[in-house]
């Protein structure tokens, strides 16, 4: 069995701040990490490897320094790492990213057929959750999103059974392979790499693929292939409204003061209420 895990190196969003004046994201000096959701995906793949001896290939599209993120995955037990990097890939939105990843996965599949593709449900920097589905549709694979548990995986039977978090409950789904699985947070606990793993990660070569390695249309990659435009980035403004405390001798007095304040701030409410009362009066109902 061959499992591909798609990961992304992201800025540690816990340490990102928004510039107070320009409202832009200040990335400078922010440490990078492997997207935490992707680590749940990797751990799930590693557990399958522990059980079945599956082979794991990790892929990422990114700049040269994304190699660090791949090495982290190698240290944990991934067998092979591929960095898909090319300057024409920069500025990609989720459409262009899933196009490039799908092309790379096709190339990989031609070499060693892929049974299962894992990725995190979304990244913590973009938060779109679109890349996983984008890959599935381009590859014509089954798509299982927001998966919290792998219940059954029969490599010989060519199907997988998962628990998927859906609105209002949990779905148990059975799907044919190959499939794309996007993992939820908290679905497992990431292992701690052993020392041989650390040595392997430090020594193993990370393969570098560019546009020629995966045969892509230049018009569909990078900024050119990205219809999404970030029009503006802004932080939520704290509301300057202060809480009001209403004191009074009796509950009635407090209620009256409250209603007075409410009507003073929202005159249309008083009009609407009076109108309503008048209507009730005409109908003979006593308020």
């Amino acid at each position: 069995m061959h499992i591909a895990v798609c990961i992304k190196q992201v800025p540690d969003s816990a340490q990102i701040r928004v510039h107070p004046v320009t409202n832009t994201i200040m990335r400078q000096g922010v440490p990078t990490i492997v997207n935490p959701y992707d680590l749940f995906a990797l751990e799930e793949a590693l557990r399958i490897k522990d059980r079945t001896g599956a082979r794991i290939t990790v892929l990422t599209m990114g700049p040269a320094q994304a190699e660090e993120a791949l090495r982290k995955c190698l240290s944990l037990g991934a067998d092979e790492a591929i960095l898909i990097t090319d300057k024409v890939f920069s500025g990609a939105d989720t459409l262009a990213t899933s196009y490039v990843l799908a092309a790379a996965l096709k190339t990989l599949d031609a070499r060693t057929p892929i049974d299962l593709i894992f990725t995190g449900k979304q990244t913590i920097d973009g938060d779109t959750a679109q890349v996983g589905p984008g890959i599935a549709i381009r590859l014509g694979c089954q798509l299982l999103t927001y998966v919290s548990k792998i219940c059954e995986l029969e490599p010989t039977a060519r199907h997988i059974v998962v628990e998927r978090r859906a609105e209002g409950g949990v779905q148990v789904l059975k799907s044919a392979l190959p499939a794309v699985v996007t993992m939820l947070e908290g679905s497992n606990e990431l292992r701690f790499a052993d020392m041989p793993g650390m040595f392997r990660a430090a020594r193993q070569e990370v393969q570098r693929w560019n546009r020629d390695s995966i045969g892509v249309e230049l018009a569909q990659v990078g900024l050119k292939g990205s219809p999404t435009v970030v029009a503006q980035v802004f932080g939520p403004r704290p509301k300057a409204v202060k809480a009001l405390r209403i004191d009074g001798e009796t509950p009635d007095a407090i209620a009256e003061a409250f209603v007075d304040k409410l009507f003073a701030d929202h005159p249309h409410l008083e009009d609407a209420m009076l109108e309503h009362l008048e209507l009730l009066g005409q109908q003979g109902v006593k308020p």
């Binding site: 790499a193 020392m195 650390m198 040595f199």
Partner: protein, 433 residues
């Protein structure tokens, strides 16, 4: 099990200097660092002393991330009456290349240094804590144990560059625990200011920078000093005191730093700056008399872990790099001569240190920690007196200067007896000669 010629524990200046020099000479080197990447656990003011690095990487200036070169040094005595008395030294020759001292940001610098170590051929593994040393039946150190599963690694020699706490040596029984009296605790903030504002406030341009070393009552009478260094677009400000004193006085380092930042001489310099980083670190300041055993069967200790800090001159990283280099050179020479890394052979390391400025400077100031510990008034009474005397002499109020002089001397005699003064002068001379 993996085996290397040398395992270096720690990726600070000492560990990097050692690993780089060893790898360049073709020895197989594994460097282990507990931080996510080199530099994430390291704290310094920070001033880089070019000479020490030049002896390891001669052309470091071409690629190292340097902030500013030191064009001016100020020494200030500050006290709680908001006085600031000091001297400053600006020398145009400090601004002629090659520069002698630079301010640096260690998180960036250490990353760069580690890249050089990797390029030299050492294997660097981060996020891995060494928890102990492996010894054979005869007690010879033969490797390290890490916290990871299957984490034992063999080495012909282990270089302990594990920093100020020196826990590895202590755990392995190679040294006693460090005393709080010999350890300083320093806290530091990095405050960001627009480059233009910073340059205007310090009267500098280009890559010029200013270093201010601070003493006096900002330490509340404890043995300690403060500092303020200019980076490209930030100011590093910090203060540190002996851990033992802090414990006794029940003062937190942040209280001291807040006091320093509010001081009337400091506040205008950092006004409006945005704090971006807060860090704290221990500095072993016990000096020569607190040095541990520096080598043994299959091991050497370098840098902060060995206590190589010249507290009087605020130097440490240069001693660290130099000790790392000498340790490496000792091992390289032994390897070339086909000799094993026994304690007797590793004594060459101690000899190398003795022949360098490292031991010369540590020996010169060996009496200072004791002097200051036993005479804490030196850092309180005299700075205060200097401030008061300066105010007296500079206040023009119709009092004849001779009377002012008398008043000042009388005040000194009131604060400290003649015998006390002579005693202090003698002790001072002995400690600093």
């Amino acid at each position: 099990m993996e085996k290397f010629d040398v395992v270096v524990v720690g990726a600070g200046p000492a560990g990097n200097a050692a690993a780089y020099t060893l790898a360049r000479a073709g020895l197989s080197v594994l460097q282990l660092e507990r931080g996510e990447s080199p530099g994430t656990k390291n704290v310094q003011g920070a001033i880089l002393y070019a000479d020490a690095l030049e002896k390891i990487i001669p052309d470091f200036r071409d690629s190292a991330p340097l902030e500013r070169h030191v064009a001016e040094q100020r020494m200030w005595l500050l006290d709680e009456n908001q006085t600031c008395t000091g001297v400053s030294h600006r020398d145009a020759r400090f601004s002629q290349q090659p520069y002698n001292r630079y301010t640096i940001i260690r998180a960036r610098f250490d990353r760069w240094f580690s890249e050089q170590v990797k390029s030299a051929g050492a294997l660097v593994i981060c996020e891995t804590t060494v928890t102990g040393l492996l010894k054979d039946d005869a007690g010879k150190v033969i490797g390290v144990r890490t916290e990871r599963a299957q984490g034992d690694i063999l080495a012909d020699c282990v270089i302990l560059a594990d920093g100020a706490n020196a826990l590895l040596g202590e755990r392995a029984g190679l040294r006693p625990a460090i005393k709080a009296e010999d350890m300083a605790l320093v806290v530091k903030e990095v405050l960001f200011l627009p480059k233009e504002t910073l340059e205007a406030r310090f009267n500098i341009s280009g890559t010029q920078g200013v270093v201010i070393e601070i003493a006096g009552n900002v330490t509340h009478g404890m043995v300690g000093t403060g500092f303020l260094y200019t980076n490209k677009d930030s100011i590093a400000i910090g203060i540190g005191c002996m851990l033992g004193d802090m414990k006794r006085q029940q003062l937190t380092p942040c209280q001291l730093l807040e006091g320093l930042k509010r001081h009337s001489a400091v506040q205008p310099l950092i006004d409006g700056a945005e704090m971006k980083e807060y860090s704290a670190h221990l500095i072993p300041e016990g000096g020569y008399r607190a040095l541990p055993q520096l080598y043994g069967e299959g091991w050497l200790v370098v840098g902060d872990s060995a206590g190589f800090v010249n507290a009087v001159h605020r130097e440490g990283s240069n001693l660290a790099m130099t000790s790392g280099r000498i340790a490496a050179e000792t091992l390289i020479a032994l390897r070339q001569a086909g000799k094993p890394f026994t304690a007797a052979n590793l004594a060459g390391y101690k000899q190398g240190l003795d022949d360098s400025f490292v031991m010369a400077d540590l020996k010169k100031y060996q009496g200072v920690p004791e002097l200051l510990n036993q005479n804490p008034h030196i850092l309180d009474l005299y700075p205060r007196f200097v401030g008061d005397a300066a105010r007296e002499i500079l206040t023009v109020d119709g009092v004849p200067k001779r009377d002012k002089q008398k008043k000042i001397l009388g005040e000194l005699a009131r604060r400290r007896s003649l015998l006390g003064l002579l005693g202090d002068a003698y002790k001072f001379w002995r400690a600093f000669r």
